[in-house]
C-alpha cells in the first residue's frame, strides 16, 4: 500500500481517472436497462390506467382496470387459485424428494456426477418440448401412460387425463416436478457439500445414527437453502405460463385454459387478455402489475415461513 502511494506523483488525479472509468464501465448496463426494461415498465404502468386496444384512442379510466380485476373478474381469482393449487401440488414434492435424492447422492461413492447430470437434463430442456412430450404421453387414445397402465392391469380403460380439471392440474404439476426435481436436488447437494466434514465426524463420535444426524444436523443447516428454493419457486411459480399453455397447444386439444379453465394461470390470462382475444393492453398491464404486487406479498410470506423469525 505504502509503496503504491509513494510511487505515484499525483494520487488524487489517478483516483479521478479511475472513477471516471467506473462510470464508463457501468454505462452500457444502466443505459441498456433504462431503454429495454425501465422505460417499458413505466410505459406499461402508464397504460394500465387507460382503456386501450393498441390502435384506437386511449381512454383514461383511472384505477378502474385494477378495480375490475379485483372485484368484477372472477376469472382472475380462478387463474390465481389455479396457479396456487398447481404450486401447492408441486413445490412440497420437489422439496422433499429433492432433499431425499440429494442425501442419497451425497452418500454415494460412485456415479455421483452421472446421476446429477442425468437428472439435471429436464431443467435445461425447451419448455415447448416438455409440453409436447407430456401432451403426448398423457394422451387418452395413444398416450403411453394409459397404454402402460392398462397393460399392467391397473386400469381397465384409459383415463381422460387432459380433459378433466383435476387430472389436468395434476399433469401440469407433474410437468413442473419433472422439470425442477433435478435442480432442487443439485442445489441441496451443493448445500450439503458445503457443510464442514468435522460436524459429521463429531456426530459419529457421539454415536448418532445416520437418521438422527440428518434430522439434527443436516436439516437445520439446510434451512437457508430451503428458504432460497421456496422463495424462488414462489416467484417463478406465480409466473407460470409455458408449461400449462404448451400442454394445450397441440392440434385438436388446442384450447385456452385447459378443461373448464382449470389450468389457466395468471400469466396465461394476462397473455390472453392483452394479446389474444380483445387485445386489451391497458387491462393486461393492470393484470401484470397486480401480479407483481401479489408476487411481492407471497415471496415475503414464504420467506418469513421458511427462514424463521430470527431473520
Amino acid at each position: 500500500m505504502l509503496k503504491y502511494k509513494s510511487s505515484l506523483a499525483k494520487p488524487e488525479k489517478n483516483l479521478n481517472r479511475s472513477s471516471v472509468w467506473a462510470y464508463i464501465f457501468c454505462a452500457p448496463f444502466i443505459i441498456g436497462y433504462f431503454l429495454f426494461s425501465l422505460f417499458p415498465i413505466m410505459y406499461s404502468f402508464f397504460i394500465s390506467f387507460f382503456d386501450w386496444n393498441g390502435v384506437g384512442d386511449k381512454l383514461f379510466v383511472g384505477v378502474k382496470n385494477y378495480i375490475t380485476i379485483f372485484t368484477r373478474d372472477p376469472l382472475f381469482y380462478k387463474s390465481l387459485t389455479n396457479t396456487l393449487l398447481i404450486m401447492l401440488m408441486s413445490t412440497p414434492v420437489e422439496i422433499i424428494l429433492g432433499m431425499l435424492l440429494a442425501v442419497v447422492l451425497f452418500n454415494m461413492k460412485k456415479g455421483k456426477s452421472f446421476f446429477q447430470t442425468a437428472n439435471f437434463l429436464p431443467y435445461i430442456t425447451t419448455p415447448v418440448a416438455i409440453g409436447f412430450i407430456f401432451a403426448y404421453l398423457f394422451d387418452w387414445n395413444n398416450g403411453y401412460v394409459n397404454l402402460v397402465l392398462i397393460k399392467i392391469g391397473i386400469l381397465h380403460e384409459g383415463i381422460y387425463w387432459l380433459q378433466e380439471p383435476a387430472t389436468a392440474r395434476m399433469v401440469v404439476a407433474l410437468m413442473i416436478i419433472w422439470k425442477y426435481l433435478g435442480y432442487f436436488m443439485t442445489i441441496y447437494l451443493a448445500g450439503m457439500t458445503s457443510i464442514p466434514e468435522e460436524i459429521y465426524e463429531a456426530a459419529k463420535v457421539d454415536g448418532a445414527n445416520p437418521f438422527k444426524t440428518f434430522i439434527k444436523i443436516t436439516l437445520p443447516l439446510l434451512k437457508n437453502i430451503t428458504a432460497f428454493l421456496l422463495v424462488t419457486s414462489v416467484i417463478g411459480g406465480l409466473q407460470m405460463f409455458d408449461e400449462p399453455s404448451l400442454l394445450y397447444s397441440w392440434g385438436e386439444r388446442s384450447y385456452v385454459g385447459g378443461p373448464d379453465n382449470s389450468v389457466l394461470t395468471v400469466v396465461w390470462k394476462f397473455y390472453n387478455d392483452a394479446f389474444k382475444s380483445d387485445s386489451m393492453l391497458g387491462y393486461g398491464s393492470a393484470i401484470s402489475f397486480s401480479l407483481f404486487a401479489i408476487i411481492i406479498v407471497f415471496s415475503f410470506i414464504s420467506y418469513r415461513i421458511s427462514a424463521g423469525k430470527e431473520v
Binding site: N14, L15, S19, W21, A22, Y23, F25, C26, P28, F29, I30, G32, Y33, L35, F36, S37, F39, P40, I41, Y43, F45, I47, G54, L100, L101, V104, F115, Q116, A118, L121, P122, I124, T125, T126, V128, A129, G131, F132, I133, L137, N142, Y144, L181, T186, I187, L189, A190, G191, N224, I225, Q239, S249, G251, S254, A274, S285, S288, F289, L291, F292
Partner: protein, 267 residues
C-alpha cells in the same frame, strides 16, 4: 435400506431420461408405425423425417435461434462483466446505489415490462426483426449480479493496482488482466444465457408474427397445426431443437452446475 434408496434414485433417473430417449427414438420412425408398441429401438425413417422438416423453413428458424442466442450471450457477458468489474473493484460515488439497483431489479418479473416493450419496439419499427428478443439480454440484472460476485471473489486488488503502476490503461486492465481471470464465471453465465434465450417462449410469441423471424420454440409450437398427422416428423423437429441445448449443457455441465448452485449456497 440402502439398496432401496439407490433403486429409488435409479427410477427417478430413468424417468428423467426416458422422455428424451423416446423423442429421439420416435424421430426415426414412420408415423403410422409409432403406435405398434413402445419405440425402444431405432427404426430407419430418420432421413425421410429430416426431409419433411427441411421442406419447412426449419433451417432458417434454426439459424434465427442461433443468431439470437449467440448475440445474447456475447452482449450479456460483456455488459455484465464491465458493470461487475466497476462495482467490484472501483470506488465511486454511486457504487452502492447501482449495486442495490441491480439486486432490486433482479426480482422484477418480465411481464410488467412486456407490453411497454412491445409498443416501444413497434414505434422504433424493430418488431419483426430479431433485435427485440436479443436486446432484452443486454442489461440482465442476474448477469450483472453474478459477475460482480465472481470478480469480487476471484481477482485481488493488488493485481489491478500493480498494473496501474505499470501504466496500464483501465480498458487494458479489463481486457488483459480481468477477462482471462474470470473465464470460468463467463463460461457459466454464457451457458445460462444460451439456455434461457434458446428456450425463451413468451417474448418471441408476443413480439414476432412473421414466420421468417420465428425462433425454434415458436416454430415447434406451431408445427402442431402444420403437421398434424406427421407425429414422427414433429418428434424429429423436437429432437433437433433439444439437441444443441443438451450439447451446450454437457460441455459445460461441471462449471455450470457449480455456478448455478454457488448463488444459492451463498445467498
Amino acid at each position: 435400506m440402502k439398496k432401496l434408496l439407490i433403486g429409488f434414485i435409479a427410477i427417478v433417473t430413468v424417468l428423467s431420461i426416458l422422455p428424451f430417449y423416446l423423442v429421439f427414438m420416435m424421430s426415426t420412425y414412420y408415423s403410422n408405425d409409432l403406435f405398434k408398441g413402445l419405440p425402444f429401438l431405432p427404426s430407419d425413417f430418420l432421413l425421410k423425417n429430416f426431409e419433411t422438416i427441411f421442406k419447412t423453413n426449419f433451417i432458417q428458424v434454426y439459424g434465427n435461434s442461433i443468431i439470437v442466442s449467440v448475440s445474447a450471450v456475447v452482449l450479456c457477458t460483456l455488459v455484465s462483466s464491465l458493470v461487475g468489474f466497476a462495482i467490484a473493484k472501483y470506488k465511486f460515488k454511486f457504487k452502492k446505489v447501482i449495486n442495490n439497483f441491480i439486486i432490486i431489479t433482479m426480482m422484477v418479473p418480465m411481464q410488467i415490462s412486456i407490453i411497454g416493450y412491445l409498443l416501444e419496439m413497434k414505434t422504433l419499427h424493430l418488431n419483426n426483426t430479431l433485435l427485440p428478443i436479443i436486446l432484452v439480454w443486454v442489461s440482465y440484472p442476474f448477469g450483472a449480479f453474478f459477475m460482480t460476485q465472481f470478480i469480487k471473489d476471484s481477482i485481488a486488488d493488488e493485481m489491478i493496482e500493480s498494473a496501474r503502476i505499470d501504466g496500464c490503461s483501465e480498458p487494458r486492465i479489463f481486457a488483459t488482466i480481468v477477462v482471462p481471470l474470470i473465464k470460468p464465471g463467463i463460461a457459466t453465465l454464457a451457458t445460462l444465457v444460451f439456455l434461457w434465450s434458446w428456450n425463451n417462449y413468451l417474448l418471441p410469441l408476443i413480439i414476432i408474427n412473421k414466420q421468417q423471424f420465428y425462433t425454434i420454440p415458436i416454430l415447434v409450437s406451431t408445427l402442431g397445426t402444420a403437421h398434424r398427422n406427421d407425429l414422427a416428423a414433429r418428434m424429429c423437429a423436437l429432437a433437433l431443437s433439444i439437441f444443441p441445448v443438451i450439447v451446450v449443457f454437457l460441455l459445460g455441465s461441471k462449471t455450470f452446475i457449480k455456478g448455478i448452485s454457488a448463488g444459492a449456497v451463498k445467498g
